[in-house]
Amino acid sequence: MHATAEATRQLVRMRGRSYVAFVFTPEIPIVGWLAEIDSTLARSPGFFVGKPVVLDLSALDLSRAAITHLVGNLEERNIRVLGIEGVEPEKLTTSMPPLLTGGRSCVITRTEPAEKAAEAKPKPNSLLLESPVRSGQSIVFTDGDVTVLGSVGSGAEIVAGGSIHVYGTLRGRAMAGVNGNSSARIYCQKIEAELLAIDGYYQTAEDIDASLRNRPAQAWLQGATMKITPLN
């Protein structure tokens, strides 16, 4: 058994596709028109970089040399001409951009992001809770500090990106500096916490010195150790 490998014919597939291009219509005098292009470039350099540009010369009657000169001038300004419209085919050489026909005009939408309409409101960087935080409630605020005017119940949880202030008894869990903010602290009027954590370092109720209980205290990080000290 011998199979001969049959040469498979490679199919050349062609598809049509349309793109949006800038169309320049130069005017006489060409020097003045180029100066206009220069002032546009001065206002926004790189405006035409990477954009397809087509020259529409139907309003002009330029010689082959003049067309070559114009295209060269545009290339000096980093504007590459994709094609030329509105000239007789014999005026173009093979080194020039090809002749284009059948173009339809359309509206060019600017791709540059428009100037930001309004400055976004600065996000609040603290959260104030005026009522007690009850058992089972979980307050998560990763953008900054959390202040509680009441108590934090046993089984409640406060998670803050910044520091935590409790102007009542802290009986639940408090986790400060959760985004890696090791300078965050936890302050409370009375400490009976189940768990305190700052930037991942934590202490449970068992680890908290019994002499601190029921007193105003703060917790902070010193390197990799959590310090809990009485306030005043």
Partner: protein, 271 residues
């Protein structure tokens, strides 16, 4: 204007059903028209405590599902003509309750009664959520011990977030009712003190019900303690609490057992 009041606690066995029956009967004895609803579908008890278990025909679920009319399911108390019971179903479970169905029933009861007392099941699941859903006021029944207090704290948080009032930006008025309180044990430090409880829960106190044999005795004969023995210490405490619910100012005291001379002399039996 009718008031819908939920009696709830989170924890089981603290005295929700006893307190619902006692407060309902006390309010009725003060001339108010009262309906008590048992939300503990599948584990109903309120009918027993009210002594109406032999007269249950239709129940809350039948009314929710439209099988029976509200008038058919309501049971009038034999002792107080302005006290009514809407019993729970014992054969169904809490999933048979629907939010719209409960809302419809509560709205209808509001037009007929001065007080609608909802006896919540323990826990924080569907039954408890629907019992508190339409409440205007809440009585949180708490025993003087840490687990009960923490569960009460959890329930208060839910009253502030999961009720219709809370969702409309209003507040459910909340009251703490401390039950099974033993002044002697509290004095010896064997129980949480009233101050500790109120400090933790940060909610006003409605009343303190002393631990008493009268409560068990009353429920055994199928009668709210405020009907069975109106002079007993717990009954007097519940009467005071009911008057506070009606807006009166009543001094907060813990009623104690009234003992006769012989009782006082022979009160301490040698072990």
């Amino acid at each position: 204007m009718a008031k819908v009041l939920v009696v709830t606690s989170g924890k089981g066995g603290v005295g929700k059903t006893t307190s619902t029956a006692a407060l309902g009967a006390a309010l009725a004895q003060n001339g108010e028209s009262v309906v008590v609803i048992d939300f503990d579908v599948g584990l109903r008890n309120l009918d027993l405590v009210m002594g109406a278990e032999r007269r249950v025909v239709f129940d809350l679920i039948n009314v929710v599902q439209g099988v029976a009319k509200l008038q058919q399911a309501l049971i009038r108390d034999k002792r107080l003509e302005n006290l009514w019971l809407l019993p729970a179903s014992q054969t169904r479970d809490k999933d048979a309750l629907t939010d719209e169905g409960v809302g419809r029933i509560i709205a209808e009861l509001r037009t007929k009664f001065d007080w609608v007392l909802c006896d919540s099941p323990a826990g924080i699941e569907r039954g408890a959520m629907l019992a508190m859903r339409y409440a205007d006021e809440a009585v949180i029944v708490t025993n003087p011990e840490v687990s009960s207090v923490r569960d009460s704290d959890r329930i208060i948080g839910m009253l502030d977030s999961k009720t219709v009032k809370a969702e409309q930006g209003e507040r459910v008025e909340k009251h703490i009712l401390i039950t099974r309180y033993d002044p002697a044990r509290a004095a010896r430090g064997e129980m949480l003190s009233i101050d500790d409880i109120l400090e933790i829960l940060a909610t006003p106190l409605l009343g303190i019900i002393p631990e008493s044999q009268d409560v068990l005795r009353a429920s055994n004969v199928g009668s709210p303690v405020t009907l069975n023995n109106v002079d007993s210490a717990p009954a007097r405490a519940y009467f005071d609490a009911a008057r506070r619910l009606m807006g009166e100012t009543v001094n907060m005291i813990v009623p104690t057992e009234r003992r006769g001379l012989m009782n006082r002399l022979l009160g301490r039996r040698a072990a």
